[in-house]
Symmetry: C2
Subunit: 169 residues, 2 copies
DNA sequence: CTTGGAAAGTCAACAACACTGACATAATAT
DNA sequence: ATATTATGTCAGTGTTGTTGACTTTCCAAG
């Protein structure tokens, strides 16, 4: 399981990364991500919502009051695409869009009690899988997991990610 | 960064996993996966192919001669969906579908030289990001990364995943 | 050797979710 | 006053997934 390492290169502790190791990592990402999304997807079949609604609900729950523009950046989609999702959530009473106090052009997004209930149902399932994986892999593996994922993100998104509330020990 | 741990629970080294830690892990998966697919997606814009074609090409490259049914299981889509992708790849001369020697109902899939060239172009980009993340995070983080992802997969897929060639040190 | 079922391919219809482009409205900034 | 920003909306399109129905080919068991 240990990854090959060589000091014969330069200063910064270079890794000896074979093509196969990298390909295995690529496949692990693909398979794990599919499992990771499967639980909420199954739940969403019972409603008339999809994965896009889940993502919006997730971030509104994480940053109550965030603006549409911020959500746009986090989700990485066009405003037309997000708007379709957001409209149904507001119409169905899961999300509330309050006019900004400081800048009245902005809309601050909040989950209603019903929205929060769906968020909990979805994230319960997703967290259960994450928790199980964490327990199986162990504490040091979890730290490494997060480190690699964070190193993989685009820099601007990493800033947003770090700005979010972190319950890390 | 360290994950809380408690020995006050039971035998199997339980982790003290807060809701926030789990949510951070969920967000890390989302953001990292998006970055992870962005490089090949950018390349594919120059061709008339999409992410689905990339995935098919990836696994055909990894297991030359695999059957349509095996590929179906790995990709987790319907045969109609895969067939649309596979047909264009065969028509365009990137994939060859040879009738099985033993069972002539099966088709064994192979990349043509042109298919292998595209596979390399796509995976070069993806591996570059993976390699950079590995180097940033370090060797022990990489091991943990893989462990958590593997623990997250569905069991049947994990079998296929493990069956694939592994260049692990 | 016939028949049942598995593997593969195809056609049609449809849904989710992304995109571009154009345009409207309201409010802030210059 | 004018330009820009934030948001919303309409129309059209593309990729990728889904069901359902049907055919062809072929292996294998009765």
């Amino acid at each position: 399981m240990a990854v090959g390492q060589t000091a014969a290169q330069g200063g910064e502790t270079l890794l000896f990364l074979t093509d196969e190791q990298l390909r295995k990592g690529i496949e692990a990402m693909f398979f794990a991500y599919r499992a990771f999304t499967s639980d909420p997807d199954r739940i969403l079949e019972n409603y008339e919502y999809g994965r896009a609604h889940h993502r919006a609900i997730h971030f509104i729950n994480r940053q109550p009051g965030l603006t549409v523009n911020t959500l746009l950046t986090l989700l990485g989609v066009t405003k037309q695409s997000l708007n379709r999702v957001l409209r149904t959530l507001v119409e169905d009473g899961l999300v509330e869009a309050r006019v900004g106090r400081k800048d009245k052009r902005e809309r601050n997004l909040f989950l209603t009690p019903r929205g929060a209930a769906l968020e909990r149902e979805l994230s319960d399932a997703q967290r259960a899988r994450m928790r199980a994986a964490y327990r199986t892999a162990g504490p040091s593996a979890v730290a490494g997991f997060r480190q690699v994922l964070e190193a993989m993100m685009d820099p601007e998104i990493l800033r947003h990610y770090n700005a979010m509330r972190d319950g890390g020990a």
